[in-house]
């Protein structure tokens, strides 16, 4: 016989299975955007500014 407590535990386990996936997607998106902006500045601003040593 399932009690309301059991159902809450089940719902919690379901949510805890979803949350890390969302966190990972958010982290990947933000870090990916940061890396893309870094690369655009490197390729379109830094390299064309020419040699220096």
């Amino acid at each position: 016989m399932t009690t309301s407590h059991d159902r809450e535990e089940e719902a919690l386990a379901h949510v805890m299975g979803e949350v890390p996936r969302g966190a990972l997607a958010l982290a990947a998106l933000t870090v990916g955007l940061l890396f893309l902006i870094w690369f655009l500045i490197y390729a379109l601003v830094f390299l064309p500014r020419g040699m220096v040593s």
Binding site: G17, P20, L24, A27, L47, V52, S53
Partner: protein
Amino acid sequence: MPATEEGILRSELRWAIVAVGMVSVVMLAVIYAGLVHHINPPSNLETIDPNTLHLTGEFTETNLGTQVTADGQVTSRLVATQFAFQPQCIVVPTNRPVVLRFATPDVIHGILVTGTNVNTMVVPGYVSQVETVFTKTGDLLMPCHEFCGLGHSEMLATVRVVPESEFKPDSNGRASCDIR
């Protein structure tokens, strides 16, 4: 992705691989810039006495500005002081290696030439040297980028980049913004 110990460990491992991959790409980009485009941090180590640099040696007033030596090397010498560069304007040709040399008798300054990768500190007791090739003509602003006192924001010079055909040093190999 289950929130088990094993699942967490697996996602952390994957994230670590992503992080190592990104650092590797950045390191490869730095090496590529250094080897292919010759973009390296200026690393000249040369000392000079800041008390006498205006009296004797290469940074005396008559020796400042742009000079072309017999072997064709273009060298510009500037003194950074509170709160001006001496000279206020230097002229250099396009598409030729140019050596910029800086010294200061007072406090720490810094220079950058806008639109280029030229960027260095100018520290009392040391000669700062940057080698570069200017590819575009025009008047480039060269401000002091290290706070050096109350007049810091007024401290700037001009790097006048002219086509090589217009770069005409005099018989002593000297070129200035007035006569080019």
